[in-house]
């Protein structure tokens, strides 16, 4: 049973009146507990693929089966429900809620999904080393600390799949390694699939499998 199955996925955008084909029939599978790195040069369609999988954008053609649900067939509310209950999303820009404390940011998505688990929450706080920071607000944290909160928020729902778009892009090398190590451990702990977009071959090598996108196709 796959947690993610992508078949013949296509997507194009218009730029200056000209259609630009970003994805030209991508196939990709992720099994539960599998950690996959998605690499490729700028404009190869990595982030677009991630956004389509998350239901943040709609594909032109092809199928996405996420934890058994056909993402393309869902309406806005259905896609929102998938994101809320089965997906963890981590962005390069952290995307924390600036007006909520670290504590509330961590439980943010779990509360939305109605799946707040205090014991798991406590474990996440311990493992991510966020205990002394719980009362702080995002603007009072360093970049690495903010990304740890974002990862904690994404994993608080014990998602079927964790999607990360350049999660260490804003961090220095040491902090990036630290964040990656933590993420790998927590993914292993939850058993979810993990798909990470990265430019770094070094970070890609830390994961189980490496998929390279070139000109909108899996190379």
């Amino acid at each position: 049973m796959l947690v993610l199955s992508v078949r013949h996925l296509t997507k194009s955008y218009r730029s200056g009146g000209e259609p630009i084909k970003v994805l030209r029939g991508v196939d990709l599978d992720v099994a539960p507990g599998e950690r996959v790195a998605l690499t490729g040069e700028s404009g190869s369609g990595k982030s677009t693929l991630l956004h389509l999988i998350a239901g943040l954008d709609a594909a032109d053609g092809g199928d996405i089966l996420l934890d058994g649900a056909a993402v393309g067939a869902l309406d806005d509310a259905g896609r929102a429900a998938i994101r809320r209950e089965r997906l963890g999303l981590v962005f390069q820009q952290f995307n924390l809620v600036p007006s909520l404390s670290v504590q509330d940011n961590l439980s943010f998505q779990a509360r939305l999904a109605g799946r707040h688990d205090p014991a798991w929450h406590t474990e996440l706080v311990e493992r991510l080393g966020l205990k002394p920071l719980l009362k702080r607000y995002p603007e009072q944290l360093s970049g690495g600390q903010q990304q740890r909160v974002a990862i904690g928020r994404a994993l608080a729902i014990k998602p079927a799949l964790l999607l990360a778009d350049e999660p260490t892009g804003n961090l220095d090398e040491d902090t990036a390694d630290e964040v990656m190590a933590l993420t790998r451990d927590l993914v292993a702990r939850t058993g979810c699939g993990f798909l990470m977009v990265t430019h770094s071959a070094r970070l890609a090598a830390m994961l189980d499998r490496h998929v390279h996108l070139h000109a909108g196709r899996v190379a």
């Binding site: 943040l56 806005d76 929102a80 429900a81 998938i82 995307n95 809620v97 600036p98 007006s99």
Partner: protein, 820 residues
């Protein structure tokens, strides 16, 4: 449900971190609701008083039968109609004089009064016996009782020596009327066996045709939708409503500004919420719910503030209405539940209207767009061109309304379109001026000053537009009031040319006083006059009789007159008409009008048109001898006396001693002028107060916009600090920028204000009151307002500027690590 609450909690957390923004939003809503509902409370109070007055035992609110010729009817017709199935009740009406003061007397027949006549239950079962059995009772409102200085149970003697039944105060009765049993009314008015009209009840049943009664003299008059008083005071209330609406709009500008900025600041949060699985529909529903909750809270506070404003202004409004129209409005507020409901509805509707753009953006929010904290300002710039086009459309609409519109509403439409057009054009004009400044700047800091001011326009434009509107209205109204004040004083001198005015209790006393005055050397001239009332072209008018004398020939405020106009008046076939009557009937010199008189229609030629400011009724001035000939029942009890100013006090003292006259019956010119000026001042005190409130709201709009912008401006200011500008210097530059923008706005508001004044004088006043004032400009007044604006802007910018001057370096440093 828990999810919705959690989303709401997340959205609300933004306000917890940005309390000033929340305060801005609430202040905007509170100001808008307070001023609007305050004005509505005043209008509602006044209108309910008119209704109470109109509904006294039928009045204009009940169908009635009257004689076609306007004369009295024989009482026997009442019995005939009742027998023929008509559910009628007789009423006798007239005016009586107590201590020389005239008051309306109403005689009713309590048994036959239709149930649907609102005041019938007033004569309750317990009081009915006293009302009907000797010595009977006179019902009077507590206000009138106090006004006449009488006590419950008193039996005042009328000018014809008849004695009133004992007075009995009735809380529900409207002021200015006495109610007695019909038999008493006939006795007091000396009209035995006669009735004025018959109220018609709604009881169904067969009724014989009216032609069978009173020789076909009867006519059925249907109730009026609007009373005379309502019609007369419409323009006054429309003025108040216009002010309320203006303040409401200015308040909504603040709300729009606050919501727009908050929306842009919350964009990343909204996107995060969407990314974390909140559907667009759910998010928008919660956003609307949040806004409605705020609107309800602010609406309630606004209503309380509105009540306070109304209670503060009511005494002046009541005094103005009494002075201008004779309308009795009690000085206490009593608010109906629908007022509270309407206030909350207007608050919610206003909040939703102000948030429309933001809500539409939220509905169309693409989840994937990167966070753009300053997209709002950028979007504002894109809107600038469209906004200018809309402004031009408003100007075209104003032109069309000016050209085609005839009504008062069209007059206000011209004003509103002009002002909205100017407000919408303001950012484009400021942009142009600042761009020119930028081109001319040489020093680096000066260049940054102009460029940054331009960038700030988008964030401050709504506040500056609100300021422009408030200032323009201030200039417009102040110019109109000043013009009115000066014209009014000159006019008063013309109308009150005599030195002493006497009102005798009856004609016998008037003759006696005239005879006595002729023996007094200090009385240089005695000028008897009279006044009759009639209807012309469906509206009530006064016919004023003046003697032929130099006093009037030299001072009467004629605007236009033909040759030998005063000589024509003496002949009795010519008259002067007031400006408002001339405008209403489109009369020019030489035209003829037929004035309905008891002796038949009286055709007079218009020999002159004169100013009659402040009088809502039309007026025709004729020779007093001609007046008594055409209106034989008109009592000539009023007279004016010319005397040297030094002799006036002694003359008045002697008149008071000899004839028992008091301050109400004999009055010197200076006192009348003083009272007239007081009425004038009270009328414009209300306008002045609303004007100040509006300017205050605009200053709050500026303050709140500056405060909300202050934080988002740190990324612009921090680099300057980093390259060596002190915080103090930065604060000074910021202050200068705000003052420059406010000053520029004020400079643009001055010509717009003069246009507003012209609209008020040449359009609104003419349509509302029927007279036109000369248009004057008062430069000192404009300079004063300019200074007030700069002081208001200084106060508004002081807090954010002080915060900047005292900002810790660490806070500025953080800008480089977080905001980037």
């Amino acid at each position: 449900m828990r999810r919705v609450l959690w989303i709401l909690a997340v959205l609300l957390s933004h306000w917890r971190r940005h309390p000033m923004q929340l305060a801005t939003l609430l202040i905007g809503l509170i100001s808008a609701t307070a001023l609007w509902s305050g004005v509505q409370a005043l209008n509602q109070r006044a209108r309910s008083s008119y209704d109470r007055a109109a509904a006294i035992f039928g009045g204009a609110r009940t169908p009635m039968l009257v004689a076609k010729d306007g004369k009295m009817l024989p009482q026997s017709v009442f019995a005939q109609l009742r027998r023929a199935g008509w559910p009628v009740s007789p009423v006798v009406e007239g005016r009586v004089q107590i201590d020389g003061r005239a008051i309306r007397l109403l005689g009713i027949e309590p048994f036959s009064i239709p149930r649907e006549v609102g005041d019938a239950p007033m004569v309750g079962r317990s009081e009915l016996e006293a009302f009907l059995t000797p010595p009977h009772r006179t019902l009077i409102s507590p206000e009138t009782l106090a006004d006449f200085g009488l006590k419950d149970g008193a039996t005042p003697r009328l000018s014809n020596d008849a004695v009133m039944p004992p007075l009995m105060a009735q809380q529900q009765l409207a002021p200015g009327v006495l109610v007695v049993d019909i038999s008493d009314a006939q006795r007091l008015l000396d009209k035995p066996g006669q009735i004025s009209r018959l109220l018609v009840g709604k009881t169904p049943g067969a009724r014989e045709p009216l032609q069978s009664f009173a020789g076909g003299r009867l006519q059925l008059v249907q109730p009026e939708a609007e009373t005379d008083l309502e019609r007369l005071t419409d323009s006054f209330h429309l003025n108040l409503t216009a002010f309320g609406l203006l303040s409401f709009v200015v308040g909504l500008f603040i709300v729009n500004s606050a919501i727009g900025l908050a929306f842009e600041q919350r964009l990343p949060v909204l996107r995060t919420l969407r990314a974390c699985g909140v559907s667009a529909r759910q998010l928008n529903a919660v956003l609307i719910g949040e806004l409605i909750a705020f609107a309800l809270v602010a609406g309630f506070v606004g209503l309380v503030c509105g009540y306070v404003i109304a209670a503060t202004l009511l005494p002046n409004v009541a005094a103005s209405l009494r002075g201008l129209y004779g309308a009795q409005v009690p000085g206490e507020l009593s608010l109906r539940p629908e007022w509270w409901l309407a206030g909350l509805v207007i608050s919610v509707a206003g909040a939703l209207a102000a948030a429309t753009t933001s809500l539409i953006k939220s509905m169309r929010l693409p989840i994937l767009s990167t966070a753009q904290p300053y997209a709002w300002q950028e979007a504002q710039r894109r809107w600038l061109r469209l906004q200018s086009a809309v402004a031009l459309a408003f100007f075209v609409a104003a032109g069309l309304l000016l050209w085609l519109g005839q009504s008062l509403l069209a007059g206000f439409g011209v004003l509103a379109a002009m002002m909205l057009g100017a407000a919408l054009l303001l950012p484009a004009i400021l942009e142009l001026v600042l761009r020119l400044g930028e081109r001319g700047a040489r020093a680096a800091l000066a260049q940054w000053f102009w460029a940054d001011s331009r960038q700030q326009i988008s964030g401050l434009s709504l506040a500056l537009m609100a300021l422009l509107l408030a200032l323009a209205v201030n200039v417009g109204v102040a110019t109109m009031v000043e013009t009115f004040s000066r014209t009014f004083l000159v006019w008063l001198d013309g109308r009150l040319a005599a030195d002493v005015y006497i009102s005798a209790a009856d004609e016998a006393q008037a003759r006696e006083i005239q005879g006595w005055l002729r023996t007094r050397p200090e009385a240089q001239a005695v000028l008897p006059g009279g006044r009759a009332e009639t209807q012309l072209a469906g509206a009530p008018i006064d016919v004023l009789g003046l003697p032929d004398h130099d006093t009037y020939r030299e001072h009467w405020p004629l605007l236009q007159a033909g040759p030998d106009a005063w000589k024509q008046l003496v002949r009795g076939d010519a008259g002067f008409v007031s400006e408002q009557l001339a405008r209403r009937l489109n009369l020019s010199l030489g035209d003829s009008i037929d004035i309905p008189a008891p002796t038949g229609d009286w055709r007079i030629t218009v020999a002159g048109i004169y100013a009659d400011y402040g009088n809502p009724k039309g007026q025709v001035t004729v020779n007093v001898a001609a007046l008594t000939q055409r209106f034989p029942a008109t009592p000539i009890t009023r007279m004016a006396v010319r005397a040297a100013p030094a002799d006036v006090p002694k003359l008045i003292a002697d008149l008071t001693d000899k004839f028992g006259l008091d301050g109400r019956n004999v009055i010197d010119q200076a006192t009348v002028k003083q009272e007239s000026k007081q009425i004038f001042n009270r009328t414009f005190a209300v306008t002045g107060a609303l004007n100040t409130f509006t300017l205050g709201v605009a200053a709050i709009a500026l303050l709140t916009s500056l405060l909300t912008l202050a934080n988002s401006r740190l990324p612009q200011l921090a680099p300057l600090w980093a390259i060596g500008l002190t915080r103090r210097r930065l604060a000074e530059v910021e202050l200068l920028k705000t003052l420059s923008l406010a000053g520029l706005t004020a400079l643009l508001a001055l010509p717009l204000g003069l246009v507003v004044a012209w609209c008020l004088i040449a359009i609104v006043n003419v349509k509302a009151f029927g007279w036109r004032l000369p248009f004057d400009v008062f430069p000192l007044q404009l300079i004063r307002l300019l200074i007030v604006t700069l002081v208001a802007a200084l106060i508004a910018s002081l807090l954010p500027v002080l915060r900047l001057a005292r900002m810790q370096p660490a806070q500025l440093v953080r800008t480089f690590t977080i905001e980037r």
